[in-house]
């Protein structure tokens, strides 16, 4: 198991280093996809299957395709003839992250250095047992936990939308209101993108039809 952790952590870190080292933005975008795939594998290694798949679908899929689309739309080849950056920026870019890493190494020994406990799936299944239902009609969560598999998506959904009854050990404040705020944020972002991409009316030629 630690072998997979080190392999995927290496993919994530090497992809990130390639992201800032390649001069061509297309190469940077591709190495960023590699970095995100390594990160998604780390999520899956942490039993967060839903978040791992979302990471691949949204980040490595949608967002990076958007980046590649914009890079190719703007046709950035001509910008690459630049000479080296200001050495002061280079120095700051190396020293400040280095200070951050040193601080991290100073604080990390206070974190317990032990492997995570294995998930107690069979024990957790008892908490999801509903006395009002027949044994064959228990919830999906109870059935999967009984079989020894983690119903990751169901538990995320339960945490997000809250639950009724007192037979559950998942403590959640309920995220219905934040979810609606996120929906409004996405709507505002969509409207904002459309407003930003519109050409101004007075920049059009005079003889264009209105």
């Amino acid at each position: 198991m630690p072998f997979f952790f080190y392999a995927f952590a290496a993919i994530a870190v090497i992809g990130a280093i390639c992201l800032i080292c390649f001069r061509n933005p297309v190469n940077s975008a591709i190495s960023m996809v590699a970095s995100f795939l390594g990160l998604a594998a780390l999520f899956i290694g942490l039993n967060a299957y839903f978040v791992g798949i979302i990471q691949i679908l949204v980040y490595a899929g949608a967002i990076m395709v958007l980046f590649l689309f914009i890079i190719m739309l703007l046709d950035l080849k001509a910008v690459e003839r630049r000479q080296r950056a200001n050495p002061l920026f280079l120095l700051g870019g190396i020293v400040i992250p280095l200070i951050f890493i040193i601080q991290l190494c100073a604080i990390l020994p206070q974190v317990p250095n032990q492997d995570s406990e294995p998930l107690a799936l069979k024990e957790a299944a008892k908490d999801f047992y509903d006395k009002d239902r027949k044994p064959g009609e228990q919830s999906e969560i109870h059935q999967s936990l009984e079989k020894g598999s983690l119903p990751d998506v169901h538990l995320v959904g339960l945490t997000m939308f809250g639950h009724k009854g007192d037979n559950s050990t998942i403590k959640t404040p309920g995220y219905n209101f934040p979810l609606q705020i996120i929906g409004v944020l996405l709507l505002v972002a969509t409207v904002g993108v459309v407003a930003l991409s519109l050409k101004k009316r007075d920049s059009l030629p005079e003889n264009s039809e209105h």
Binding site: V13, A48, F67, L74, L90, A189
Partner: protein, 106 residues
């Protein structure tokens, strides 16, 4: 299974690499990609804490993973708006190099 320390170190390393990219690179699109990397490394911290905080129930703490879900949503909205701003900028100035964008310099 690796320890919490190692996960937090990888997360911090990715964050530092992203920070270095933001400071060193001059291409605004690559700077934006490095910002995404920093957001994503914060997600790794949240998921690691969620997995290692099993508590009494024996299951991971799913509140952390819900927060990751919200962060990914906000990042997607941010990318859409940011890339639209970059396209508008490129239309106005014909450049994506931050050293050429000095009109707000004091």
């Amino acid at each position: 299974m690796a320890s919490l320390q190692e996960y937090l170190f990888i997360s911090g390393l990715l964050f530092a690499i992203g920070l270095a990219g933001v400071l060193v690179r001059r291409n605004i699109i690559v700077i934006f990609m490095c910002l995404e990397l920093m957001l994503s490394s914060a997600n790794l911290t949240l998921v690691a804490f969620s997995r290692f905080n099993t508590g009494t129930s024996g299951l991971p703490d799913y509140n952390g993973q819900v927060l990751v879900f919200f962060i990914i949503t906000v990042a997607a909205a941010e990318v859409a708006v940011g890339l639209a701003i970059i396209v508008a900028l490129y239309r106005a100035r014909q450049t994506v190099n931050v050293e050429d964008l000095t009109s707000m310099k004091g």
